[in-house]
């Protein structure tokens, strides 16, 4: 063998490089990774776009979104963290208007709301998008994407109300993904729904800016809010958010008289710490009152958090006991069949609402009071 001269070596290397490049260039597109997504072009006249209700216009065409505490600074042509708000020539638009990707009729108990018009149906819808990135999201298919990538229904607000009536739904629930990301759509539907005598349920992670929430409170009737943990560190690690804004949301909903039920997912090695649960329950009692229902939900492996086993049932029972000891009147266990779903009168401790799964079995309330001892039971009843 003879070694080459430097010139020959460089020549050969160049040929090799060109050959590799040519190979890559001529491969069919489906063999290659897709190019970096070109930003979809949006037309402000598109009926599925709506100028955001809460944002500031800044210099240089910048916008600052005011819908949630992320407060994204968005340049023209770009989107916010939730990817459902886009800056078009200095104006901020929501791309989540009238285009839900999923629509169902669910029992209201599934939201889960156990003290809100039991036995009724909720017309439930979601537009794709979320301002969190929870590792254990059970609806990741729609929360971790955006409406321009999903197959959607075309449902303007008035059509939603019509359908809710058609299916005999007492309420409309904004759920599955994160309702805050389709805020404008939710507010407009809620306004029309109220006029039609239909209630509105806000199912959310509670990550919404105060001004947006204040406005929302004028048109919603119930909030099913996920308080994911009582630790800012865990909030950031597991969900990509912060605790403080969620606590503020809870207080505001309470203050504004919106019916509120809180859901806490008990995740092994994260949110199963009974001391933390105790602090959380203490906070709820102090700031929201002992009548605020709290649901401890059993974790099952999902999405990216698939290497942890489900929550042991006794941990949920212990959490429930902690909640009751801290003074909460209504503490439930979710995702465990036949456990802790009965609504109990805080006065005489008798069961006033009995359910099998999501089906109402018995209701022993009269005008919102226990039939046995006449103690008022907090909630929204007929």
């Amino acid at each position: 063998m003879m070694n080459q001269t430097r010139r020959e070596f460089l020549k050969s290397s160049l040929w090799a490089f060109c050959g590799a490049h040519a190979l890559l260039s001529f491969l069919p597109p489906w063999l290659l990774p897709t190019a970096a997504l070109a930003e979809a072009s949006f037309d402000p006249k598109d009926p599925h776009l709506r100028e955001a209700y809460f944002y500031d216009r800044l210099e240089g065409g910048l916008t600052k979104c005011g819908t949630c505490p992320n407060s994204c600074l968005i340049k023209p042509g770009q989107r916010g963290k939730c990817k459902t708000r886009v800056n078009l020539s200095g104006k901020l638009y929501s791309i989540s208007y009238g285009n839900p990707c999923t629509v169902n009729v669910d029992p209201v108990e599934k939201k889960p709301l156990l003290h809100f018009y039991p036995g009724t149906l909720a017309f439930s819808l979601a537009v794709a998008g979320c301002n969190f990135h929870c590792l254990n999201c059970q609806n990741w298919e729609i929360s971790q994407t955006t409406p321009d990538k999903t197959q959607n229904f075309d449902l303007p607000p008035d059509q939603v109300v019509k359908l809710a009536k058609h299916y005999n739904c007492s309420s409309i629930a904004y759920t599955y993904s994160e309702a805050t990301t389709f805020y404008e759509y939710m507010v407009d539907i809620s306004t029309m729904a109220h006029k039609a005598g239909i209630k509105n349920i806000y199912v959310s992670n509670g990550y919404i800016s105060p001004p947006a929430l204040e406005r929302l409170c004028t048109v919603i009737d119930a909030g099913s809010i996920n308080l994911k943990s009582f630790s800012d560190d865990i909030y950031f690690k597991l969900n990509g958010g912060h605790l403080e804004p969620v606590l503020n949301t809870l207080k505001t909903l309470r203050r504004r008289g919106v019916w509120l039920e809180i859901i806490n997912l008990v995740i092994p090695t994260y949110t199963d710490d009974l001391e933390m649960i105790k602090r959380m329950c203490g906070w709820i009692v102090k700031n929201l009152g002992p009548d605020c229902p709290l649901h401890f939900s059993r974790f099952t492996p999902k999405y990216k958090l698939a290497k942890l086993p489900p929550t042991p049932v006794e941990i949920l029972q212990q959490a429930r006991e902690v909640g009751i000891r801290e003074g909460l009147h209504h503490v439930y266990i979710g995702n465990v069949p036949g456990m802790g779903e009965e609504v109990i009168c805080p006065g005489c401790r008798k069961v006033v609402i009995k359910r099998r799964g999501y089906t109402l079995v018995s209701l022993d309330l009269e005008n919102g009071k226990c039939r046995f001892c006449k103690q008022p039971v907090s909630g929204r009843w007929e």
Binding site: M1, M2, N3, Q4, E8, F9, S12, S13, W15, A16, F17, G19, A20, L24, L32, P33, T34, C101, T102, N104, V105, P107, A126, A128, L135, Q138, N139, W140, E141, I142, T150, Y176, K237, L238, P268, T269, Y270, D272, P301, Y303, K304, L305, A306, K307, L308, P309, P310, P312, V313, E314, I315, V336, P337, G338, R356, G357, Y358, T359
Partner: protein, 729 residues
Amino acid sequence: MCERMEKMSLPKIPKIMISLAVIGFSSVVTQLVLIREGMATFGGNELVIGLGLGLWLLSSASGAWLGIWLTKRKDPHHLLFLGHILLATIPFFQLAGFRAWPLLLVRGEIPGMGSSAVGLSMILMPYALICASLIPLAASLLPWRDAPSAVYLIDLGGEIIGGLGFSFLFVYLLSHWGVMMVVGLGNLALAMLFSSPRLRLLPPLLATAIALSLPLNLSTLSWQMPGQKILLHKNTPFAQLSITRSGQQLNVLSGGIPLFSSGDYRTEALAHIPLIQVGEGARVLLIGGGVFGTILEILKHNPSRIDYVELDPVILSMDRQIYRSLSRPSIHAHVGDGRLFIKKARHAGIRYDCLILDLPDPENIYLNRFYTREFFEEARGILTPGGVIFFTLTGAENYLDPEGLALNRSVYAALGQVFDHILLFPGETHYFLASSRSFGTATASWVGLEIKKRLAERGISTRWLVDYQLPEMTDPQRIERLKKLVAEGSEEAANSDLAPHAFRHLLNLWLKKTGGTEKISWLILAIVAFVALSFCILIAYQQDSLLGVTFSSGYTGISLELSLLFLFQTIFGYVYLWISLFVTLFMIGLGSGALAARKWKNDPARQTFIQDLVLFLLISLALWLTMFGRSLQADTFLSIVQCGIIPVLIFGSALAVGWQFVAVSHYLNGATPRITGQLYLADLAGASCGTIVTSLWLLPRFGIAGILISAAVVKSASLLILIRMRRRG
């Protein structure tokens, strides 16, 4: 004194040969252990396995190159000593590294492909690098003219013993930590042979440390199972299984992924939905999962017989600690491949009223076989005229991801080609119920409501199915929407053995969930392009096309071996014994080819050309077998394929690769370590490319035929090079 020390320190040829054999042994055993650990950390699908194996081979190729440089150093004996010390000790850190990796991520999170690539590279590469670098180093101490071929043979011998030892002994008797202790002590013994007097105490000290390290096994394992107390951890040929306790709850994990937890009632749907369709006293065939509660639910319908097939016997043994469901007389447990069981049952004329698949999704090529048209045809053959088949696939409560949808469509299309009547139930999990018998005017919604009624008639209560699951499963809107999407949606190619579309979609879904769809494609192309480019530069620099031929044979050899193993699995099922024998047969073939080339040294150029031609012909034969062999039904033909054709192809391809390796070394006419190093580099680089491209790209997209066609293309290029060389003289 100096003379005596010189005599003591100068290793004799047998020591070098033993050293090479131990290097080969250590390499294979450690590779197997670390790849299995990697699977437990990063996932057990073909992407991770292919990436791990490919990175190992790539590192080995780099190590071979490093070895050439090492031979120029002054004290090769000392380097060998150090090498064996490192081979003895590094694996423990690697094991700990894999187990500690989850601590770097969010606890409980499945790592994505990016994290897997980084983790596998960092953890696997050092050992492979060091191991491969010792080969040219040891070869430099052999005074033989044809040292490269001798080294190849001895190393191969060690690998064969290592492979057999792990597959038939270690995996059953020892934990991974225990296996590494055996390998470690063996290497330390070798180190003693090369040690200088100054360092003579080091090997025994390290041996003592290794012997005392066993308790670290469980403590490092616990990093992978946070918040749980490990009750049992067992190695099986198929997985690493653990039973843990969190509070009062029992968990069973496979490779760190929860398989089962007590208090899980989701097995109710698996049993009650199909059993309601058939009368009491039915004959039931259950494949997989039975000990986790499904059998108990099936028993509520008073079947006359349950045949339960489970691949891994250790799972059956876990029944004692879970529900003790196998003790009933009507249950007959069988160890083996479920599809093979069905084939045999069909030939024996056995029929079932109900076939339930309690298996994971088609997340690897083995599981994909249970969701193909060919499987459904076999299944139909063992069902009674009114019999039903029932299985699950990943679903979504509210919206199906496009890959999830494509997955469901491809399986539905396959099912629809065999069964005329299919009902599909929506939910977080999708349930498929199919039969040759009509369900009448029943819709899924109606059937769901009937379930509630008939369960009540049979006096069967459920904790989850009726009150929580059925309302969603029987929601007419959800059912209608799902039917439109899956059954009436756009055309999706039916999942089949040769075209594993379901597997591909599930891999894409996994990539999406873990955040790696585009990254993995870039990674594949980057690695392959880098290796190929590096090799082109090397060949150009050396003006040595023969290295290209060796590279192509490395690629072809591994591609052919993997294709034949996958083909065997497709036709005959996953039979651990046979798979292990075939892998061993491949290595024996390599050795036999090398031996033959050493014997017949005349005209190495012609030998190289002939072996290339032989490989090309073998690829063609394998392709023919792939296209037509699966449809063979007659026992005689199947036996010929199982015991004759496939083993001959495996042995033949290995023989050609091994023969050619040695023939090329003769052609290059040198015994220098440089040549040994270059040949190893070429062979391993080719094998690395073959592994990565096959596992990550070709198999999911194009199936087995695609792998063979790619091998044919690569081998054609090699043949052209050789023809051109022969013409130039």
